[in-house]
Amino acid sequence: MTDREQFLQLYLDAEREIRCFLRMLVRNQTDFEDACQAVALNLWKSFDSYDATRPFGRWARGVAINVVYQQRRSGMRDPILFPPEVASDILDAYELSLQSEPSGAERVEALRKCVDALPARSQKFLELRYGESLSLADIAKLVGSTVGASQRALSRIRACLARCVEQRMAIVRGLS
């Protein structure tokens, strides 16, 4: 297997978790897409320095932090809110959450089941917010509610989903 093939295989396996981590830091969608591309390029460029005995995903996300903070200096549309040391703490917590995870696909499957179990109104909120990328004001209009109530509803749904995914992942870990 060539270096390029090896890199692609590792990158594809880790891509979702890299993107998810970047999304936690980079909120502007355009900045985020730029960051994803810049991270991919930098990973390829520095692939020679990757120690194959270590997990690729962890290494890649470490590179990702450096890249986005360089990008921040070079000018983002919306600056990252957090200082690098906070981003580093978030990365540690993120890595902890991925520890012993059978695969990224398991987490997606867990999320799908958790969303499936939500009431229709909650699913509607998610569809409008994430599927249609609507603003809170637009969501509030569509569901006949206020901006504050819509935000509280979304917050509650996210918290429920996070809890549900964790519980499902714990079960998966127990079975694997």
Binding site: D89, S97, A153, I157, A162
Partner: protein, 515 residues
């Protein structure tokens, strides 16, 4: 919107991009100093990121378009075969306009497409799952056991009603299986043919289903189930309540939480979400789950995914009844706004009820008994307590040692505690409160069955025990901690009762609060 200080609100504000500069600074400060905040932030933000990654249908559609195009020309979707013809393969639209070298461009296209292929596979599958039309099953389409043309209930009356975008329904209209009642604001009193009364509070969306099932998608219902109508059911997306001779309340909040409280008698609570009810009328498959028995005074909160926890307290006005139609709404602000206690989750399912401007003769005293507060003489309860806010506590708490009860007051107030004269005076009371020298009586009615025994009405009648009224002036809005009764082991606790709690505004505020 007021400034966010709660961690969950701050995280939500960050994820929804609505934080002010001050709030953002506070979130960063918390993240910089508190590991727990980092954990919580990561947990919720990770769910948000995954949702965005999976649910971004616009991106999925663009990938899907690429796939469809290539599949149409027998294109092999394996990423390996993407490597060589990369320059000729269109990549999904990207927003970056940055200049990159030819080698980088090639790699970027390779990476973009290769990465997209994995996403295509997962994305298309997710997309199909997500966009699959899976509405709630319509129980009305299931063969009804009852004559669908026969009315099952009547809309008796409404109050402060705003139908809004929904069809008006006139008072007196007979309601049939399959019909719905929807309104934006107000109250609707519905009388079933069986005698059961259901009061709906808007915004509400409810449908009458066969076999005495009321399906609630939104709003609050308080049901007073008639004798002989046991088995009456209220169904929500996450739970089904089956009456066992009782009155109970069910509400679904904007946050998709379901509260279930029992005022009298008992119910069976069946939990279950959509997953278990896809192909059956709502509530049907939930009935196959093991019920959780709830009795008077119990309250639970069910989250949108069916997780259950204790409901610690609620305001009684949240669950209007028929009597609400005949009384004017309390004016002014609520004085007692919250009650918490030291019970851990799982130790009790009892739930405090806060009654705003509700202390009068014959007012219910406890959530788990039908005892009433009354004046010890026909003169009635002391005037300074009339229409006070008060807390219906649990009489069973009299047995609990080391109880801590936190009562939150929204304004300066005089806080009153009613202490059973048969109980030793606890130190937490004597050290901070003073005995007013006034008394209030408790009318104890022992385990009445509905319709068979009614407590005597009126002041000074059937008083079983006397309580001393203690008071403490609270000069500002704050939370006051109360303690437990210090009943000795040898003491016959069965002949005593738990203390009561009431509050009235300090004189300077009384005009602006509950009159």
């Amino acid at each position: 919107m007021s400034k966010r200080t709660d961690l969950n609100d701050l995280i939500a504000g960050y994820l929804d991009d609505v934080l002010t500069a001050d709030e953002a600074e506070l979130l960063v400060r918390l993240l910089s100093t508190d590991p727990h905040t980092v954990e919580e932030f990561t947990r919720v933000a990770q769910a948000d990121a995954l949702l965005q990654d999976v649910l971004d249908s616009k991106r999925q559609e663009s990938y899907a378009a690429v796939l469809r195009e290539r599949m149409g020309t027998h294109f092999d979707v394996s990423w390996r075969q993407r490597l060589e013809p990369a320059d000729e393969v269109p990549t999904p639209a990207k927003s970056s306009t940055k200049s990159i070298g030819r080698g980088d461009r090639r790699l970027r296209m390779i990476l973009g497409l290769a990465a997209s292929l994995l996403t295509i596979t997962v994305g298309l599958w997710m997309y199909s799952q997500w966009n699959q039309v899976r509405p709630f099953p319509d129980p009305g389409s299931v063969a009804d056991a009852e004559d669908p043309s026969a009315p099952v209930a009547t809309l008796v009356r409404t109050k402060r009603m705003k139908w809004g975008q929904y069809d008006d329904i006139a008072d007196g209209t007979r309601l049939r299986v399959g019909e719905s009642i929807r309104f934006e604001r107000g109250l609707a009193e519905i009388s079933y043919e069986t005698g059961t009364i259901a009061v709906l509070k808007g915004p509400a969306d409810a449908t009458f289903r066969p076999n005495r099932l009321l399906e609630i998608r939104r709003g609050t219902v308080t049901a007073d189930v008639a004798e002989g109508d046991e088995g009456f059911r209220v169904d929500t997306p996450t739970a089904t309540v089956v009456d066992l001779s009782t009155s109970f309340g069910v509400s679904i909040s904007d946050e998709e939480e379901t509260n279930v409280v029992v005022f009298d008698g008992g119910i069976d609570l069946h939990l279950g979400g959509r997953e278990s009810a896809d192909n059956e009328p709502m509530g049907h498959s939930k009935l196959n789950t093991a019920p959780r028995y709830m009795t008077a005074g119990d309250g639970v909160l069910i989250d949108p995914l069916g997780g259950i926890s204790r409901l610690v307290a609620f305001n009684r006005a949240s669950f209007p009844t028929s009597s609400t139609f005949d009384t004017a709404p309390a004016r002014g602000n609520r004085l007692i706004t919250a009650v918490q206690d030291s019970f851990s989750e799982g130790e009790t399912t009892k739930c405090y009820q806060i009654v705003s401007a509700g202390l009068v003769d014959d007012a219910p005293a406890y959530v788990d008994r039908v005892y009433q507060w009354n004046g010890v003489t026909e003169a009635g309860i002391p005037k300074f307590l009339l229409l006070a806010d008060y807390v219906m506590t649990f009489n069973d708490d009299k047995y609990v040692h080391r109880l801590e009860m936190d009562v939150t007051l929204a304004a300066p107030a005089t806080l009153y505690v009613f202490l059973d004269d048969r109980v030793p005076q606890p130190e937490w009371l004597t050290s901070a409160f003073e005995d007013t020298g006034e008394n209030i009586g408790l009318d104890e009615v022992h385990y009445p069955r509905r319709g068979k025994e009614t407590p005597p009405l009126g002041a000074g009648k059937s008083i079983d025990s006397t309580f001393s009224i203690w008071k403490r002036e609270i000069p500002q809005a704050m939370t006051v901690r109360l303690g437990s009764l210090e009943i000795r082991q040898a003491f016959d606790a069965a002949d005593t009762a738990m203390y009561g709690v009431a509050a009235v505004p300090l004189d300077s505020n009384r005009d602006t609060l509950n009159p």
